[in-house]
Symmetry: C2
Subunit: 339 residues, 2 copies
């Protein structure tokens, strides 16, 4: 069980002081090129590796950035995590991860761990129950001088930095596609109504109608706590053929919707046109390909990591809200109908 090589070991071996070793390894100008090379060479030969715990402990920062997820569904989070990982690989930071399972209690514990670890940044997407009245634990981060940034599921009326998309506009663009193709009986399928993003996307849904002088029918808007509940609702809703178009606000809802459409032996887009907000993976591989408004998890992951590091380096305290742009990706799930 060989012990790890330390700077002290190198120092005694080369008859130098630890300070010289340290400076030589970090290319300090005080050290001559000769000894610098000598140090680096033996360091390499002996497989010396800096003890990051010790370095960061001395330097008073941890080199850690935390990612806190409420849950991990198969549609959004794989690409989100991929984006974060891709971005952090270019930096000297490492990623620690916590999953809160939509529990405020677990969210608090995750935050506690972040403070204990002295992570330098926290990227958090709130639980279903996280709102401006249950944010005391998030403010602890500010007290501990830790940068915190909300992404995806943000709390609009908080003062934390936020990274999201323009949810209302995004939904509006999606519904507009259906409206412009002549659809008027459009079913809007939304997630848990207590989420801010749900409310914003619902508002965009309605606004698309109003912009055309139409009145959105509240009966044509449904929200479900869990996507699987659609298996109970959709067979009834779709069997009487009221709707010619469907808008779903997430990939998960889209997935359950397409399954139910198939179960009812309906065809896309012949019987039903459909548009969704989506990460992009599912609609592109589905048959037929589905038209969607892109809300890319990967891009979000990259952006939130970049913004976190930016905030770490210069912590300005003004309120930050960044919106990632979204755009339509066209496919074959919408057909025009005569009115």
């Amino acid at each position: 069980m060989m012990q790890r090589i330390t700077i002290k070991d190198l120092a005694t071996m080369l008859n130098l002081s630890t300070s010289t070793i340290s400076r030589a390894l970090s290319d300090h100008p005080d050290i001559s090129e000769a000894t610098r090379n000598r140090v680096k060479e033996t360091a390499k030969r002996l497989n010396y590796r800096t003890n990051l715990q010790a370095r960061f402990f001395r330097k008073k920062h941890s080199g850690l950035i935390a990612l806190i997820l409420p849950e991990i569904n198969m549609f959004y989070h794989p690409s989100l995590i991929e984006g974060v990982n891709a971005a952090i690989a270019e930096t000297p930071y490492s990623l620690v991860m916590f999953q809160t399972n939509n529990s405020i209690k677990q969210e608090k514990e995750a935050i506690e761990q972040c403070i204990r670890w002295a992570v330098e940044g926290v990227m958090i997407s709130g639980t279903i129950n996280t709102n401006k009245y249950s944010m005391a634990h998030l403010e602890e981060l500010a007290l501990a001088n830790i940068q915190c940034i909300m992404y995806d599921r943000v709390i609009p009326d908080s003062s934390l930095p936020m990274l999201t998309i323009d949810n209302a506009d995004c939904a509006k663009k999606g519904v507009n596609i259906l409206l412009e193709h002549g659809h008027r009986n459009i079913l809007g399928i939304f997630a848990n109504v207590s989420l801010a993003i749900t409310q914003e996307r619902m508002e965009g849904f309605k606004q698309a109608f109003r912009d055309l002088g139409l009145v959105p029918n509240p009966d044509h808007i449904i929200t479900v706590e869990r996507p699987s509940l659609l298996d109970n609702i959709l067979p009834v809703l779709l069997s009487n053929h009221i709707f010619s178009g469907i808008f779903t606000m997430t990939d998960e809802l889209l997935y359950f919707t397409t399954n139910n459409i198939r179960k009812l032996n309906l065809a896309i887009p012949e019987d039903l046109s459909i548009v969704s907000i989506s990460d992009g993976v599912f609609p592109n591989h589905y048959y037929p390909k589905i038209t969607y408004i892109e809300d890319s998890g990967k891009r979000m992951g990259q952006a939130v990591l970049a913004q976190t590091i930016k905030n770490i380096n210069n912590s300005n305290k003004e309120k930050q809200i960044h919106y990632l742009p979204t755009e339509i990706v066209w496919a074959h799930s919408v057909k025009g109908i005569e009115q």
Copy 2:
């Protein structure tokens, strides 16, 4: 910018030594109940939190466990990560994550980071290119006295501890379902052929035939580097109706296969019976529900984390291979045919 409260702060405030504070906080019997309570009370009041960096630095371990993933697909890894997170939440360890994108170079860098961080355990699933001849970087972990355990994509002829399922048996059970229902023309769809799990599952596929005295047809076995390549292959293969049954070795392959089946306007199970090895999420939500051999990512995640901690606590050096049991989950994707 309030500085963090340290043990030293508590010591001066309470007119005690740092050692007393430290011992009081950790319930050392040397400390009287009176001062222990006094210390704990003020620690709580001032929101003192141990600096884990300092503690672990002093105690010579990091409290970190690393998860190294080659990629993150939407089917297996969300539940794997969920399992790991669920299990690690019960422990004092924290999870750091690395993604190698199937690149040996990135895998090496991840390992380097693990050693620098002095993580206590590494859970790794190899890249497509990781084999027994490209494992020098993994042996570095042993030299650094870091427990390493392979899961999912293991290298059978390495000496590292491994956690996997009995791939051959698993595939055999799946194919057997089709054979027992009278199917003889079964298409086997497999992933990248350079992976050990692919070869093992292919072997199980063939063995199922041999067990019944049948000869497996090599033309009925296809392997694809990437699942999306099925979009080019399957339309040709399935259009002449040679096959009555399909076996897919992963969820991803199953997904692309079902899409192609739909594109060809074929029905499950009327036109094609299908069985897969799967995490379980997709087959349960698909319509129709699909019969599968369960290879649960969540359970794998929990198991690999548990085994890692076990190995950290007593590092026995004998070769370890653990197989997680698998079982059939029945649904409605297989119909019996007359021979």
